[in-house]
Symmetry: C2
Subunit: 244 residues, 2 copies
């Protein structure tokens, strides 16, 4: 079965967490909205499903995954689904729940990272909320970034199966997502991360370990990996990186 | 087995979504942090688990549920767990996934509702970000409230098993959470909701149906139900209700 991934074209966004899992699983998938209308269905195919005219279970927002007749939305929910099918999650109930819990905390972190450039709301451009963004980002870098990264570093320390992975003794989708978080933060806040990274050696090692996995390395070098840019979640605005 | 619920005392907050499920399930539970230290363990017991000194799987934040040795955190993840055990979720895989997806969208909605009074960050008081809050809330009431509530009204319309419940033909934890969302929005934004409610007749009927369920009615009339207040997620600030 070929999966259909639906996400906004042109940005990594939340879709990237799904792409990394699909790539590591070597799954057969098509990135629908990045294709031409006459080939994959393109963006119009995504909008039809969002509008709920073709399904009784319309997603609220991308990303979503079509697996046969099933439509699965919400990033962490999609990873829960893929994790079971592709060996990217523990098989025990307690392990599955713990991995999902970490992923939901990553989702909260992603939302706060997004809000550094859009604290007043997504309906306004960054340029219309630069002052608020500076104020939000100052607190984010001082309090939240350190709290979240400190938490995940602590989770690695506590893992009874060793500090190579966040959950258990094998790679899970959480590790792939954590790789993406670190890559994104380095892009968006290079100065702040340069200062902070010596306090998260285990996360830095995890990031390197994921980057070197053959399928991830192949993906990152391919045109399927969209470069970071200032339309996505992780945006590099030097004035925010220096917010205090 | 007696469940242990851990959440900040004094507010409904995200813990309330769990309380409603536990009450509807008539489950045996103790609200740990609301009890005295010498009885339930109180707030110190919660802080110990948060600090990760007693468990290898510490939650990032409350609420979390202790079920025997298992600790489950993240509101939607806790409801996923309780839903299976207490008949508050579909049993089919597609149904379970759809209910969880809706709950994660409710979680996103809750975060945006919280941000109406704290757009710049939780580390500052509302009084320090009133101007930003007005700006955020104006867009929230105009765009986001209507988009989310319109979406859930549409989900009721599309339900092939009828418009009584969000998922399938029986009550799920999603209906309990939607009840709480509507109650909270009516408390926080009475004017805005008065204007909008005629466009969501199915959600209004759902809210009434949940309120009349014997166990929910009993709970709402009990001292276990903490009143809404200006420390929680749903806060009534008249100046925000009138934001334009």
């Amino acid at each position: 079965m070929r999966y259909e991934l639906y996400y906004w074209p042109g940005i990594q966004g939340r879709g990237e967490f799904i792409r990394l899992a699909l790539e590591e699983a070597d799954a057969d998938y098509v990135d629908v909205a990045r294709g031409a209308s006459h080939e994959t269905g393109g963006l119009p195919a995504m909008m039809k499903l969002l509008n709920g005219k073709e399904t009784a279970t319309p997603p609220f927002a991308p990303p979503f995954l079509k697996a046969g007749r099933l439509i699965v939305a919400q990033t962490a929910n999609i990873l829960l689904y893929l994790g079971d099918r592709h060996g990217l999650a523990p098989t025990s109930e307690a392990g599955r729940s713990w991995a999902h819990q970490l992923q939901l905390t990553i989702a909260d972190f992603v939302k706060e990272i997004h809000d550094t450039h859009h604290p007043v709301g997504s309906g306004h451009y960054y340029e219309e909320q630069k002052d608020e963004a500076k104020r939000f980002t100052a607190e984010f870098l001082r309090e939240r970034l350190t709290k979240y990264l400190g938490y995940f570093e602590h989770v690695l320390t506590l893992n009874p199966r060793g500090e190579k992975f966040l959950v258990g003794a094998r790679l899970t989708y959480c590790d792939l997502s954590m790789f993406q978080i670190i890559e994104g933060l380095r892009y968006a806040f290079p100065e702040a991360m340069r200062r902070y990274e010596r306090r998260m050696p285990k996360l830095v090692a995890l990031n390197e370990r994921v980057a070197k996995r053959p399928r991830i390395a192949r993906y990152l070098a391919s045109p399927r990996r969209i470069p970071f840019n200032e339309s996505g979640i992780f945006r590099h605005y030097p004035e925010l990186d220096q917010a205090e």
